[in-house]
């Protein structure tokens, strides 16, 4: 077999179980591909030795007839997950040199399921960004380029390294995390599949916290089937996360019937944004036609508070971030500033955090500090939390009226050029998440998958939003859309 790195999880798993290939071979194929892909800057910490050991163990398990869901499958892990003894920096200078003494629940679940870790993946600092340009490691680069144009493009963010690595076949799949769209936007920018499950489906324990009421981990994969397999391995109740849901994890793969006859698919009118590019509107209309042809019933719905989701998010997320990131004080882990004569503990905090946090993180921590400060708590933070209640109610009303899932664009554009947004104000960058952020605020599952290409030959994605805890149904609906769209394009290898 050639090009083993190009396999998805399901195909590789089947080949492993048939004995056509070994995990060591799969892992070596990925490792050599990673070695040649420095230009993408996707993998930022390499764990080749660990991968080799895990692959050998996996091969022995397969031989012994004990092959769990991810057995022998080489994947990448976002730098946000704490991995025991392996650098875990959340893309930040302030965690330089940090070696966790413990393993995050999600990565442990994946290892228990037999997965092989190739290394840690680039990301925006503390997952704050939509272009992977706030990373201490430098930009991750999208393997896709515009037709006839060598300009480097963003793979999206914050899970930009994960998206680039999966799209470039450096690994079979990767973990991502999503606070406002950080799995789904990069998936859409790179022609890959990414699902953010219902809040509480995956444990947050050991995942560096950004905004705890919004953060969720999920898989980034080459196909919907792969997403179903990997989500099943990542998910599950964890007593170490008080918001983890004590619910059984269904067999997501077994639920992939792709039969959506009679399903009600909602099309929210508020997602027709002013100034939305025509090709995004067309992508959406094409997707609607595909679902209708597959037997679904298309219904217009209203989610009246959509417009207020981003402003509410930019109160709630920075507020939670300012609290979560207070722990980076130069005392317990990571960077501590070199102090001058006479500096006390306050100077130590202030210098450490000024040196350790990049500009976007500093900005959000300070905005969060402001909206939580005395006199503004009610005007900003409480108001935003009330608006969040209304946003969630919008979705509840739609589901109560019988809608099974909701179809929207995943992003307002195709991948943009690295550096293109440098001079724009921060709010312009925030608009990337306009279609995805509502889903985090409402705690719902959402999946992005590629269904078309832009006029410049770049992948474009649609998003499906499901009812809480009904990822199985959502994945099956996405599976139907994937089959109908038949997106198979891959980026030309230039790296």
């Amino acid at each position: 077999m050639t090009d083993l790195n190009k396999l998805g999880l399901a195909d590789a798993r089947d080949a492993l179980r048939k004995g056509d290939v070994s995990s060591v071979e799969l892992t070596n194929a990925c490792l050599s591909e990673i070695e040649g892909a420095g230009a993408l800057n996707a993998f930022v910490h390499h764990t080749a030795d660990l991968a080799a050991d895990q692959a050998k163990v996996a091969d022995a398990r397969i031989k012994a007839g004990d092959a769990p869901a991810m057995c022998g499958l080489p994947i990448g892990i976002k730098d946000l997950f704490c991995t025991k003894g392996v650098p875990s920096q959340a893309g930040s200078r302030i965690l330089q040199g940090f070696l966790p003494e413990y393993e995050s629940t999600v990565s442990q679940n994946l290892f228990d399921a037999g997965a092989v870790m190739l290394g840690k993946l680039n990301m925006d600092e503390f997952a704050m960004g939509s272009s992977n340009e706030t990373s201490v490691y430098g930009n991750a680069v999208n393997p896709w380029r515009r037709a006839g144009d060598d300009a480097p493009l963003t793979p999206g963010g914050s899970s930009g390294g994960s998206a680039a690595a999966v799209a470039a076949d450096l690994c079979l799949a990767a973990t991502g995390t999503d606070t406002g769209g950080s799995i789904r936007q990069p998936a859409a920018f790179t022609g890959t599949v990414g699902i953010k499950p219902t809040y509480g489906r995956c444990s947050r324990w050991g995942v560096v916290a950004f905004a705890s009421s919004l953060d969720q981990a999920g898989p980034m994969t080459k196909t919907v089937r792969d997403a179903a397999i990997m989500l099943g391995a990542m998910a599950g109740y964890d007593a170490k996360d008080s918001t983890s849901a004590d619910l059984a994890v269904p067999d997501f793969e077994a639920a992939l019937t792709g039969d959506i006859r009679g399903k009600k698919i909602g099309i929210p009118r508020e997602y027709h944004m002013d100034g939305m590019p025509e090709e995004i509107e067309k992508l959406w209309q094409d997707g609607i036609a595909m679902m209708r042809d597959a037997g679904a019933e298309i219904v217009d719905i209203s989610l009246p508070h959509t417009k207020y989701a981003l402003p509410a998010y930019y109160v709630i997320a920075p507020a939670e971030a300012s609290s979560n990131l207070a722990r980076y004080d130069g005392v317990r882990y990571g960077h501590r500033a070199k102090l001058d004569q006479g500096d006390g503990i306050t100077e130590m905090y202030e210098k450490t955090r000024a040196q350790g946090f990049g500009p976007e993180v500093q900005r959000r921590v300070m905005v969060g500090t402001y909206v939580l400060s005395a006199g503004f708590y009610d005007a900003y933070y409480n108001r935003a939390r009330k608006v969040r209640t209304l946003i969630k109610k919008d979705f509840e009303d739609a589901f109560a009226a019988g809608v099974d899932s909701i179809l929207t664009p995943a992003t307002p554009s195709a991948a943009f050029g690295l550096g293109e947004m440098t001079d724009a104000d921060p709010v312009a960058m925030y608009l990337n998440d306009v279609f995805t952020v509502t889903v985090n605020l409402a705690g719902l599952p959402g999946i992005a998958l590629p269904t078309g290409t832009s006029s410049k030959g770049l992948p474009l994605g649609l998003q499906l939003i499901g009812r809480p805890w009904e990822e199985a149904d959502l994945l099956s609906t996405a599976y139907a859309l994937e089959k109908a769209a038949g997106f198979v394009a891959k980026p030309d290898k230039w790296w």
Partner: protein, 95 residues
């Protein structure tokens, strides 16, 4: 609501992030852009709406009131920039 340089400096102080005085005007400007965006929330009628505390309805579990782990001093201190004699070390805080 507009943020001036004094307010920006106060917020930086509260957040324990050192901001040089010459960076304050740009910072105040950025705050105002972001807060201007957030101001839209004032258009929403939130009378009688409960602020969200938990996105998925759930009752927090109680755990047994027993010691579950501990005695991990070496692990706790392993990543400290400065640890001495089993403690985190910081600059002098008491004169």
């Amino acid at each position: 609501m507009s943020i001036d340089e004094t307010t920006a400096a106060r917020v930086a102080k509260l957040a324990r992030i050192k901001v040089e005085p010459d960076a304050l005007p740009a910072l105040a400007l950025e705050f105002n852009t972001i807060l201007g965006f957030i101001e839209q929330l004032n258009e929403v009628d939130v009378d009688g709406v409960e602020p969200m505390t938990s996105v998925t309805p759930q009752v927090l579990k109680r755990r047994d009131d027993v010691v579950r782990d501990g005695g991990q001093q070496a692990k706790v201190l392993a990543n400290a920039p400065d640890a001495r004699e089993g403690f985190f070390a910081v600059p002098k805080v008491v004169e």
